[in-house]
């Protein structure tokens, strides 16, 4: 209806297609998504003998598995207003109307403080589950959203020809005899660049629909038609291989992840990001063998009127932190096995621009949350914010290569060992790790 045309007030310029605005789910980012068009067609009743064997598979897949969740903040989040260096005098000079005041930050360590709308993160930090890496970023200087996202997702800054994503390579490195169809899962309608590659990855738009499907008693002529036309089409681009997809459907039918309700007292924020993480939790609780999950959230491209303690960025941060905190709480004891890492393609200018916002910058902040994480600490070398300490005279300098953080997360959660295969040419090995966990 026309009315929904007007319901998104995001007022920030060239916002990048994350999935916070639901519509964006349908929109393919510029990028290199390749989807096997798998004819995955309706099924609802599964014979009980099959169900049992599927359950057996699922149990096996889920034994003591560590899981890695990757969150991408698309659009270049303003890290300096997320984890605020509130002792830096120049921070306040450079951001006269958008700085977070000293008495507003949620103090972390006497130097940095969280944005006040991120109160949901404070207890996670205090309990030692949440680590922060500041001044992290890419060695590539691009300020193009599209290039920079692509470099981060491929894990090869400056190299455009890389075909697969770093997380897929990490899964290849940590190999698995009989992988679950849900080993690598992305929330959304398309498999993102990060997860593309040899290891089959699956994109799930909405789990609820799987269970809805199971309730329909009638046969499905369209399903049959679609399947026979597309599965065996001579058109290679449009047909698919099916096998894993059927496997996935079977598993979903049997496990009915949508029946997993959030733990008592857990409320996910309304919005697509909260919904995505809720579904990640459901998949994980259903023991479907998820090892790596990916979700993204947009709306960070705050060129104009970004606000300070309140306002546009603040709203985004509230949704972001509350969704992640809800996920953490929802996972309960399972949270022990989870590592969640966040990233954004670059930071924003240290100085506010002429329109109450910030333009494209360089280094940013990453969060690492997990059972095994040594949290309660801000990691990384702080490059300083005085004029002469800035990158190109305008942005926070990168002192930690983002790949170093991701490599450690993959190494310690997925058990990925071949770091040079995951991040070719990157200066990362266990000796360079920040020892986040």
């Amino acid at each position: 209806m026309a009315k929904t045309i007007f319901t998104d007030a995001s007022d920030w310029g060239c916002d990048m297609g994350g999935r916070d605005v639901a519509r964006r789910n349908t929109v393919t980012r510029r990028g290199f998504m390749r989807n096997g068009a798998l004819a995955l067609v309706g099924t609802s009743v599964i014979p009980s003998f099959l169900t049992r064997s599927i359950y057996a598979e699922m149990q096996k897949a889920s034994v003591n598995k560590k899981k890695l969740v990757v969150v991408f903040q698309r659009g270049a989040c303003d890290g300096l207003n997320v984890v605020v260096p509130y002792q830096e005098k120049n921070y306040y000079t450079m951001r006269p109307s958008i700085a977070i005041k000293q008495n507003e930050v949620l103090d972390l360590n006497g130097f940095f403080g969280l944005h006040p709308q991120m109160a949901a993160f404070k207890p996670l930090y205090d309990q030692g589950h949440l680590a922060i890496v500041h001044a992290a970023g890419s060695p590539d200087p691009s300020r193009s959203h599209f290039d920079a996202q692509d470099y981060m997702e491929s894990g090869t800054p400056g190299v455009k020809v890389t075909q697969d994503g770093w997380l897929n390579r990490a899964l290849q490195s940590a190999h698995e005899d009989k992988p679950s169809a849900f080993r690598a899962v992305a929330l959304g309608t398309q498999v993102p660049r990060t997860l593309q590659g040899k290891v089959p990855a699956i994109a799930v738009a909405n789990l609820q629909d799987f269970s809805v499907a199971g309730k329909g008693p009638q046969t499905s002529p369209i399903s049959n038609a679609f399947q026979s036309m597309y599965d065996e089409s001579t058109d290679a681009m449009l047909h698919g291989t099916g096998q894993e997809t059927f496997e996935a459907v079977k598993m979903l039918k049997a496990a009915d992840p949508a029946s997993y309700k959030p733990a008592a007292g857990v409320v996910y924020p309304n919005g697509a990001f909260g919904n995505s993480l809720k579904q990640v939790a459901q998949l994980m609780k259903a023991n479907l063998g998820v090892e790596a999950a990916f979700s993204d959230i947009g709306g960070w491209d705050t060129h104009q009127n970004q606000g300070a303690a309140n306002g546009q960025l603040a709203n985004r941060l509230k949704e972001f932190s509350e969704s992640i905190a809800a996920f953490w709480k929802d996972m309960g004891d399972e949270a022990e096995n989870i590592t969640l890492v966040t990233m954004s393609e670059f930071g924003r200018t240290a100085r506010q621009n002429g329109t109450g916002g910030t333009d494209h910058g360089h280094a940013n902040v990453m969060f690492v949350l997990g059972g095994a994480v040594k949290g309660g600490k801000v990691y990384g070398k702080w490059p300083g914010l005085s004029d002469d300490q800035l990158n190109e005279g305008r942005d926070l300098k990168v002192t930690t290569d983002f790949r170093n953080v991701l490599a450690e997360a993959a190494y310690k959660s997925l058990g990925a060992r071949n770091l040079q295969a995951i991040f070719p040419g990157a200066p990362v090995d266990p000796g360079t790790f920040l020892n986040l966990a």
């Binding site: 026309a2 045309i5 007007f6 998104d8 007030a9 995001s10 060239c14 916002d15 297609g17 639901a22 519509r23 929109v27 510029r30 990028g31 998504m33 390749r34 989807n35 096997g36 068009a37 004819a39 995955l40 067609v41 309706g42 099924t43 009743v45 193009s144 599209f146 309608t189 040899k198 290891v199 994109a203 738009a205 799987f210 809805v212 499907a213 329909g216 499905s220 369209i222 399903s223 049959n224 038609a225 679609f226 026979s228 036309m229 089409s233 681009m237 291989t241 997809t245 059927f246 309304n270 919005g271 060129h303 009127n305 606000g307 309140n310 709203n315 621009n353 002429g354 329109t355 494209h360």
Partner: protein, 755 residues
């Protein structure tokens, strides 16, 4: 690769809806599928294939009879005709567009006639003069009353605290509607901010949405408490009046009575309400309820109508291409919808086959782009305006107004201008170039937007006092101080750059020829671009005459994007569109909402993002919904199309072949034909498609929630009654016929997804 049938896997009990199918997309190991040869076509194109190819690439798809028409005049003559749209009679389209009179208004007139939420809010807050024109007076009064009623409702809800429990029903509804959901959450979050602008904006948006729900909640008995109702006999009495008298009554009603009237209106009466009214009157009736919605909906609807019905098909295709190249986003903020009609009508369309530089300048000056990429606010840090603001701020450091005023540059437009509109990301510009370009464009702004009665036009204006003084250097060129001319100089440098010629040619070649066009073709097009000073006609001519364009390898090798799929399906079936709103909603459902790409790169023209199983099954569903007339306001008539002797209930194999020829322009693959023949008697397919198409996957996209609402009659209010109500008030309860199903299956087949 042999795929087991579902019923092999599931022991012959393949059941259930296809919902499950819709939600999973797999990535194939190692890109297996993409590297396999696509149905290879190696022989040179036949003459008939050449015609089909041209129609598929240069139009939104052939309609019945198009192929013969091109044959008659000859390919080259047809192409020349299409290159000169001014010589093609398009009166039939214009007649259809008469149903959207608002789309012919200037920004200023639009804002006056259909006051944006900010204006309504101002009026509600401060009072102030409403227009003397009785129609506009009614629109303002009703919109203000709606705003206040909703505000009150919201305040009450807030006061009640446990709104989540209290409004459980509402919440459920909301959750089906991701847009509303998003809005609701943001709304809640905005509450404590005190950020007045955003706050109010969000409230307005909340209002706009709730506004639309009013009928539904009234039906559920909720609205009654709030607004009261009107006796059925009173409602009847209004509806029975002649159109003129009825309209007179409506504009004379007090806002309270109008609310009661609307709340008491039964679904089927909505059509009667606007029956016989002129398009302007229909707009006014709609505007009394939600003025902003009229503008936004018509902008999207009329764009689709042009794509489907214009005889100037190449112009329509190029307009679509440039609207995507110079992407803007309808939901950027509450003002953006008001800028879209002019953007298409004055900025893009007249330049779509002209000189690239003219087009570039037009977009740079368009309020839609100035707003979308923030340049309208960008101010030179040493400009008079900034200096003044800084002085004020020095006097009152905590003064909110001075703080909020722009006083420096915003790089957003400058960067995307070079990265996405002209040079391309590897085009050789630096960060310093971005800054210098941004300085050149300071002062390019919108004439005091969104204030009425100030004489502001809402159009482009150059404000010298915002302009950054001094000489600039852009891409090695020195740009002397020259006010507005600096921006023009930048655009000239960019428009004539070889990098731009290449970047634009590449994109055109991807749209028209191949996902991976040969470098030779792109180079030839780029050479023409440079030689002709960016003459788009000349570049297209080079492309059309290139052997690569006619290569058997590219024949039917392009996968349709959703807009190409939807328009070609409507055109191929010669469907009569009386109300395009459901098609607009379908576009969102198919993953390509109209004016709905938030990021400035626009939608991809390559297949990769459009071929997940999610997407393809949605297309199948849409095809069946369309062919079976389940889409309100769009009518197909297969028996009429196929001619004498066709059986609706028992179509033959011959009929199927006839449909293949008509819809695909070629025989279908064996598998496709066998499937169609095996499944066409499943007339439940349309209903199933409808259910799926309207209900599937929640939370994934706003489109389907829009679609799911189609079943609520209230939802059709703006659209349905409007263009004559040909589709009836709601869905056709008739089951689909085997003939419908046969045609729908072909429109959903792999063959139809290619062009």
């Amino acid at each position: 690769m042999k795929i087991p049938e579902a019923n092999e896997i599931f022991g012959g009990v393949a059941r259930g809806s296809l919902m499950a199918a819709l939600c999973v997309a797999m990535v194939l190991p190692g890109g297996v599928s993409a590297q396999m040869p696509v149905a290879a076509h190696t022989a040179p194109l036949t003459q008939q294939e050449e015609v089909l190819h041209a129609l598929n690439r240069l139009t939104f798809g052939p309609r019945p009879g198009d192929e013969a028409a091109v044959q008659r005049v000859g390919l080259e003559a047809w192409f020349q005709q299409q290159l000169h749209p001014e010589n093609i009679d398009d009166a039939a389209l214009e007649t259809r567009l008469d149903a959207f009179p608002a789309m012919r208004l200037s920004e200023e007139e639009l804002i006056r006639r259909f006051p944006p939420p900010a204006m309504i809010r101002q009026l509600a807050k401060n009072g102030g003069g409403t227009p003397s024109d009785p129609i506009e007076h009614a629109i303002y009064a009703d919109a203000t009353a709606n705003y206040e009623a909703n505000k009150k409702k919201q305040e009450q809800a807030n006061a009640n605290g446990g709104a989540a429990d209290a409004a459980a029903g509402d919440m459920a509804l909301k959750q089906d509607d991701p847009a509303a959901q998003n809005m609701a959450s943001t709304d809640a979050m905005v509450k404590p901010t005190g950020d007045a602008d955003t706050d109010n904006l969000m409230q307005d948006l909340a209002m706009a949405s709730k506004d639309g729900d009013e009928a539904a909640s009234a039906k559920a008995g909720k609205g009654k408490r709030a607004v009261g109702t009107m006796e059925p006999s009173e409602v009847q009495a209004v509806l029975r009046l002649s159109p003129e008298e009825r309209f007179g009554q409506l504009i004379a009603m007090s806002p309270e009575r109008m609310m009661q009237f609307r709340a008491s209106l039964k679904p089927f009466q909505r059509v009667m309400l606007v029956q016989g009214l002129t398009p302007q009157q229909v707009e006014a009736v709609e505007a009394m309820q939600g003025p902003a919605r009229v503008v936004g909906a018509e902008a999207l609807e009329s764009r689709l109508m042009r794509d489907i019905y214009s005889q100037r098909q190449l112009q329509a295709v190029m307009t679509d291409f440039w609207l995507n190249h110079f992407n803007v986003y309808v939901r950027k903020n509450q003002n953006e919808p008001y800028l879209l009609p002019g953007y298409l009508r004055d900025t893009i369309l007249p330049n779509s086959l002209g000189k690239f530089e003219d087009l570039l300048v037009a977009t740079a000056k368009s309020p839609a782009m100035l707003m979308y990429l923030d340049n309208w606010q960008s101010v030179g840090p040493d400009s008079q305006a900034a200096t003044r603001v800084k002085r004020v701020q020095a006097l009152r450091p905590n003064g909110k107004i001075a703080q909020a005023l722009p006083k420096g540059i915003n790089e957003n437009y400058a960067r995307e201008l070079m990265e996405l509109h002209t040079l391309g990301v590897g085009g050789g510009y630096t960060q310093q170039d971005v800054i210098e370009v941004a300085k050149c464009f300071t002062g390019w702004t919108i004439d005091r937007p969104y204030q009425v009665g100030t004489g502001a036009t809402g159009g482009f204006v150059y404000e010298p006092n915002r302009h950054e003084p001094g000489v600039k250097t852009v891409l090695g060129h020195t740009i002397p101080e020259g006010g507005e001319s600096e921006g023009l100089a930048v655009l000239h440098i960019l428009a004539t750059s070889p990098a731009t010629a290449h970047f634009v040619s590449q994109k055109l070649a991807v749209r028209f020829v191949s996902d991976d066009p040969s470098p030779a073709l792109v180079n030839a097009m780029a050479a023409t671009f440079l030689k002709s000073n960016g003459d788009i006609k000349a570049v297209l001519t080079t492309m059309f005459h290139a052997k690569e364009f006619w290569s058997p390898q590219v024949y039917r090798a392009k996968v349709k994007t959703p807009i190409e799929f939807l328009t070609s399906a409507v055109r191929a079936s010669d469907a009569r569109v009386q109300n395009p709103l459901p098609l607009v909603q379908a576009m969102a459902r198919l993953g390509m909402p109209v004016y709905g790409m938030q990021t400035p790169n626009g939608y991809a023209w390559t297949a990769e993002g459009w071929v997940s199983s999610n997407a393809l099954i949605s297309r199948m569903n849409f095809a069946l919904v369309l062919s079976g007339n389940k889409l309100p306001g769009t009518q197909t008539d297969w028996p009429a199309l196929l001619g004498n002797g066709v059986s609706v209930t028992d179509p033959t194999a011959g009929t199927e072949k006839q449909l293949e020829a008509m819809l695909l322009g070629q025989p279908a693959a064996e598998k496709t034909r066998a499937t169609v023949m095996a499944q066409f008697t499943n007339t439940g397919a349309q209903d199933e498609a409808l259910r799926s198409f309207t209900a599937e996957p929640k939370g994934a996209m706003s489109g389907e929630s829009q679609m799911s609402r189609m079943e609520e009659p209230g939802m059709l209010r703006v659209g349905l009654g409007k263009k004559g109500g040909g589709g009836g008030a709601g869905f056709d309860a008739q089951p689909g016929t085997p003939l419908d199903t046969m045609a729908g299956l072909l429109l959903g087949s792999p063959e139809f997804q290619r062009r």
